[in-house]
Symmetry: C2
Subunit: 143 residues, 2 copies
DNA sequence: GCTTGCCTTAAAGTGTGCTTTAAGCCTTAA
DNA sequence: TTAAGGCTTAAAGCACACTTTAAGGCAAGC
């Protein structure tokens, strides 16, 4: 069972142009063609594209994906190197988790401050942007 | 107490050029200058830059930061709009958390498969890239 | 006085990852 | 048979966020 690029695109929710781009970048070796030169994708390819999309969405660079493809093409002997790459990437994922947690903290903090200002429990000049805003108000009043 | 751009840069771990870029983009209103035209940063500015850096690291667009600055400059009446922006951003953070969790799952899965292949408990053609690799091997053997 | 070094600005350049365009071929339906 | 619509390619274009370059000013130390 193989799929046209349109079918692949639909199943993956990924533009056909992007899939072609990935193939051109060497991320999709061994895509067969029909007698008209149209690409024929196997289920493996769809799985691999899905995995790449997942990794891409979380910051893996295309150059790193390409390295992994190239290593895979060189056989099982490169598995240690592929593991090393994935472990580094995993570290990156942990760092991003921390960044997200920090940002979530910061945004909740900011939202809480806005609520307090809205309820009159905090003067508007309390923090950060609000200070600038206040300075702006003072300035315009002086004019 | 105010800081030169160099001090700000050192304290924030952020290139001076980037800080100037942010000011040019309108993200840092009301930066004063000394008699030579050199920027003088207040603690508020450093705090705000730090917050922006945190938001930027987790995918907030500069255009959105700018919107927030512009709203803040328009006073407390815009707090509901700022809250709306932050709440949307918060949704985005949650989506990213899910993406990270999925990627972490996928990478652990892949690592587990590599270990099994290394230990001989799985043939190398088992999944995804390994299949391509296998196809490659067959092909080269046929030649 | 002159060099060093940091500051200023505006503008051009870079890296990444698509996305769009242009030109053309093949198949199918009217 | 001809127009529509999908496929192909190579190449150009775009969005984003810096980053680098170029040209020059000011101040302190030798």
């Amino acid at each position: 069972m193989s799929f046209t690029i349109k079918e692949a695109s639909e199943r993956l929710g990924c533009p056909a142009h992007t899939i072609r781009f990935y193939e051109k970048e060497g991320l999709l070796p061994y895509i067969k063609r029909d007698r008209h030169g149209n690409r024929l994708f196997e289920q493996d390819h769809l799985d691999w594209i899905r995995l790449m999309t997942c990794f891409r969405a979380t910051g893996m660079k295309i150059s790193l994906l390409k390295q992994m493809v190239n290593l895979a093409l060189d056989g099982d002997a490169t598995i240690p190197q592929r593991k090393a790459i994935l472990n580094q990437y995993k570290e990156q994922l942990f760092r991003r988790q921390n960044e997200l947690a920090e940002a979530l903290d910061a945004v909740n903090n900011k939202l809480a401050i806005y609520e307090e200002i809205e309820e009159g429990r905090l003067p508007s000049e309390s923090r950060l942007l609000n200070q600038m805003e206040d300075r702006h108000n003072q300035q315009t009043k002086r004019e």
